[in-house]
């Protein structure tokens, strides 16, 4: 991955929601949105609540579909347009190229914290011992007490679950990383850890698009602030 390599190329994206079961009400959220992000660059989206930051990020992850436009993400030598790619192409992309970290952990019953964190790296075929070492390191850095590692995170506090989720999101060195308020409601110490993780990701060349409410985090990681309305 070389610096200044184009990693994310969004052009002319439109997105409206139509609520068929509520009288067919329709409202546009993204209007001709475009954005380019280079390797090693961190772009922070801002704008008022409800302006479409989260929708945009979800569209970048193909979690939301778009009505028109292109979202091209670099996958090795190729640029893949995820608005038209086949589902299994997107799954492959998510597995090794595209990471997404939100503040919510989708709990899988019965699976231990350590396994939850290791899983994405294991899925890439990486040796279990290496996955475990990396998972433990991340959990340690994020101050998740060791006594919790063998337990399923379903019963953890909100903050603990959030940190487990961050560890899971950072275990693979994704070339493209999407961060949807990962630091919301974290204490200062743990916010600092997340900032470090983001900086490390940038240093290895990841292209990052994020939403952060905390000013200090934004200041610490953003190369560019982009107003969602201006995209």
């Amino acid at each position: 991955m070389t610096a200044n390599q184009l990693m994310i190329d969004v052009s002319g994206v439109e997105k409206a929601f139509t609520l068929h079961n509520q009288g067919g009400a329709s409202f546009g959220v993204l209007d001709n949105a475009s954005l380019q992000v280079q390797a090693g660059e961190c772009v922070v989206l801002h704008g008022q609540s409800g302006a479409g930051k989260s929708t945009f990020l979800k569209a970048l992850y193909a979690n939301y579909s778009v009505d028109s436009g292109a979202i091209r993400l670099r996958d090795g030598e190729q640029m893949v347009d995820i608005t038209s790619a086949l589902p299994r192409r997107i799954i492959a992309l998510r597995r090794q190229t595209l990471g997404y970290v939100s503040q919510f952990l989708r709990v899988i019953p019965r699976v231990s914290t350590l396994e939850v964190v290791m899983q994405p790296l294991l899925d890439l075929g990486v040796d279990a011992a290496r996955c475990e070492a990396k998972a433990k390191d991340l959990l340690q850095r994020l101050n998740v007490p060791e006594r919790l590692w063998s337990l399923a995170p379903g019963t953890f506090s909100g903050g603990e679950q959030q940190r487990v989720n961050i560890a899971r999101g950072f275990i693979v060195d994704y070339p493209v990383l999407l961060l949807d308020e990962p630091t919301a409601s974290l204490d200062a110490t743990n916010r600092k850890v997340v900032v470090e993780l983001i900086r490390e990701a940038k240093a290895r060349g990841a292209a990052i698009v994020g939403i952060f409410h905390d000013e200090d985090v934004r200041e610490a990681v953003a190369d560019r602030l982009v107003d969602i309305k201006a995209i």
């Binding site: 139509t18 609520l19 068929h20 079961n21 979800k58 193909a62 979690n63 939301y64 579909s65 996958d75 090795g76 190729q78 589902p87 299994r88 192409r89 997107i90 799954i91 492959a92 597995r95 090794q96 190229t97 899988i108 019953p109 019965r110 699976v111 899925d123 890439l124 075929g125």
Partner: protein
């Protein structure tokens, strides 16, 4: 890691993989509006496809057609078989379809008694498929039965008990073991967690999820439970009144549904 999964993750080669199962213009109606029609899709190795929709939407009919148990009125189901090569299921011999069912395929029924022999032991239930494909060494058969009981978290001490002495969740897990013992490539599941207690469901789902990813299985799972679909399926087909109304990546369909019916389905579930 399984070959299929590796191929799927490899960016350079992923495009070259042939579909495992292809459905073309499939129709099967018992009566107008009862059945399924105009079905087209491909299933690729290692993919888990969920078919969701309410009761009567035609999803179980579709599953029966796909798994060679119900001859469609028209259309094709093409399957890429290890033993028979590329085959058009219903154009071929029934004997071949039956060989597939006990070797390359697995079928997990909603009601365990449809998928198990209730009057013979758990070990015999698992061993039957091995014997059906020619295994004739008792010791080996028993060892494999024990291995698969362990894999589905049933105490090997229960190997000589009959399924009728098992709980609903155990019966379901036994059914899975019985199917997996011949290392099938493709598993069909019809509401595998239906009728189970919530706590039992969670255990079964977790087990399924692990087995599917560890063994690189391709799965077609019919469910009306969107949580089950989200946990297991890579991709969804939403059916209503016998027709496909929406398809796509599981989380995209569930988080950003486009069709009015899908929106209704998604908004009808309770948020946790």
């Amino acid at each position: 890691m399984n070959n299929a999964v590796e191929l799927l993750t490899s960016t350079s080669e992923w495009q070259d993989i042939a579909p495992l199962l292809s459905v073309r213009e499939l129709n099967k109606f018992y009566a107008p509006g009862k059945g399924c029609g105009d079905i087209n899709f491909d299933l690729y190795p290692g993919e888990v496809l969920g078919i969701v929709g309410e009761s009567g939407s035609g999803k179980s009919t579709l599953l029966s057609c796909l798994s060679a148990r119900l001859t469609p009125d028209s259309g094709q189901v093409l399957y890429n078989s290890e033993q028979f090569g590329e085959m058009d299921l219903y154009a071929g011999e029934e004997s071949q379809r039956r060989v597939l069912m006990r070797s390359e395929w697995g079928i997990v029924h909603q009601h365990a008694r449809d998928g198990l022999r209730m009057n013979v032991s758990a070990g015999a239930n698992i061993g039957e498929r091995l014997m059906a494909v020619g295994e004739r060494h008792y010791g080996d058969i028993r060892a494999k039965a024990e291995e698969w009981l362990t894999a589905v978290e049933i105490d090997t001490g229960r190997i000589d008990d009959r399924p009728s002495q098992f709980s609903g969740g155990m019966q379901q897990r036994l059914q899975i073991a019985r199917n997996l013992v011949t290392h099938p490539k493709l598993i069909f599941m019809d509401e595998p967690t239906g009728g189970l207690d919530v706590s039992v469901q969670a255990k079964l789902l977790d087990l399924l999820r692990n087995l599917v990813s560890r063994l690189g299985l391709s799965v077609i799972i019919v469910t009306h439970d969107l949580a089950v679909a989200r946990l297991l399926a890579h991709r969804l087909i939403v059916m209503r009144r016998g027709a496909v109304v929406e398809t796509g990546l599981t989380d995209q369909v569930l988080d950003d549904p486009q069709h009015p019916y899908t929106q209704l389905l998604v908004s009808s579930i309770l948020q946790n």
